[in-house]
Amino acid sequence: MFTLLSRICSGSGTMEDLDLLVSLCETIKETSLCGLGQTAPNPVLSTLKYFRNEYIEHIAHKRCPAGVCNMDAPAPVAVPTEVLA
C-alpha cells in the first residue's frame, strides 16, 4: 500500500495502481483479524472516495494540486508491476 502510494505521489503511478490500491485496501479491511487491520485502510479508501480527482491529477498530469508532493523527486525503485511467481 505504501509503495503504491509513494509511487503515485512521486508521479510515476499508473491508473492500474489506483485499482490495485482499492482492491488491496478492501481485502485488508474485510479479511483482517484485528481492529488495526480492519480500520487502517480507511484513510486511503476515504481519500480515494472524496479526492479521487487529486489522485488522477497526480497520475495523469504529474501535478500535486495541494502542493504537498515533491513531483521532481526520483521515483522509488522501479519494480515490474507483473512478476511471474
Partner: protein, 237 residues
C-alpha cells in the same frame, strides 16, 4: 430444537448438512466433501486462524468468518466460494508471494508446495503487487535439515508441531508485522539449539522453507498426515 440435542443443521453452499455442536465450519465442510482452501490449518494441530484463506460468508452477517475457528450454529447459511471470497483469496495469496522471495523454479518444494498448489487452484497467474525482495538468511547449521526464511510464510505450523506434538518448543516467532521471523530457541543457530532432530516441523511445513538436506532438487514431497494418527495413538495409551 431441544430434542435434537447437540445436533445442528446448517447449509453450506446450498447443501443441507448436519453437524455436532462445537464443530468448526471447516470440519463440517470437509466431512461433506466441500473444499475450503487453507494454509495455516493442519489436522492434528491447534488452530490459529492466521492465513485468512478459509474465510467464508455467513448469510445475515457482513463480516467474513474464518472457517477453521468459527463454530457452527443452528440454521447457519454458509457460502464458501463466492466472487468476493475468490477475489480476497487471490489478493491474500499475492500478498504472501510478494512478501518474501518465493521463486518456485529453484525451490526444493516445486510441485509439492501447498502455496503453489493453492495459487494454481485460485487461478493466480501473476502477482500485481510490487515484490518486497527482503534480504533473509538461510540456517543450515542443523546436520539434517535447513531453514530458508525466504520461503517461509509464517503459518506457524512448525511452531505448533514442535510445541504441541514434540513438546520441545524450539521454534517461535520473533518480531512483529513485516519483521516477523521464525527463530529456534532464543534466536540461536538451529544446529546448537535444543532441537531433538525429530523432523516433524519439516514434514508439516507447507512450503520449501524447512527441508531435508539429504534430498536435492524438487524431489521433496512432504507427509504431514501422520499427525492425526499420532495423536490418536497417544490418546489410546
Amino acid at each position: 430444537m431441544s430434542e435434537s440435542g447437540g445436533v445442528k443443521t446448517l447449509t453450506i453452499d446450498g447443501q443441507e448438512v448436519s453437524a455436532r455442536s462445537g464443530q468448526t465450519i471447516l470440519e463440517v465442510a470437509r466431512e461433506n466433501e466441500i473444499n475450503i482452501p487453507t494454509l495455516c490449518h493442519l489436522d492434528g494441530l491447534s488452530e490459529v486462524g492466521a492465513c485468512r484463506l478459509c474465510l467464508v460468508e455467513i448469510k445475515g452477517s457482513n463480516k467474513l468468518l474464518p472457517a477453521c475457528v468459527a463454530t457452527v450454529f443452528e440454521g447457519m447459511d454458509v457460502s464458501t466460494d463466492t466472487e468476493r471470497l475468490r477475489k480476497h483469496r487471490r489478493v491474500i495469496l499475492e500478498l504472501l508471494f510478494a512478501e518474501r522471495n518465493h521463486i518456485c523454479s529453484v525451490c526444493v518444494s516445486n510441485n509439492h508446495c501447498e502455496l503453489q498448489t493453492l495459487a494454481q487452484q485460485q487461478g493466480l497467474t501473476h502477482v500485481r503487487l510490487p515484490y518486497r525482495n527482503p534480504e533473509l538468511t538461510v540456517d543450515a547449521s542443523n546436520e539434517r535439515f535447513t531453514i530458508d526464511h525466504s520461503r517461509c510464510i509464517l503459518c506457524t505450523r512448525c511452531v505448533r508441531a514442535c510445541a504441541e506434538i514434540e513438546g520441545v518448543h524450539v521454534w517461535d516467532v520473533m518480531g512483529r508485522g513485516i519483521n516477523s521471523i521464525i527463530i529456534s530457541d532464543l534466536h540461536e543457530d538451529w544446529g546448537t539449539s535444543s532441537c531433538t532432530r525429530c523432523g516433524k516441523c519439516v514434514q508439516v511445513c507447507p512450503t520449501g522453507a524447512l527441508f531435508d538436506k539429504s534430498k536435492i532438487g524438487s524431489d521433496h514431497p512432504k507427509y504431514p498426515d501422520f499427525l492425526p494418527y499420532l495423536n490418536l495413538m497417544r490418546e489410546a495409551q
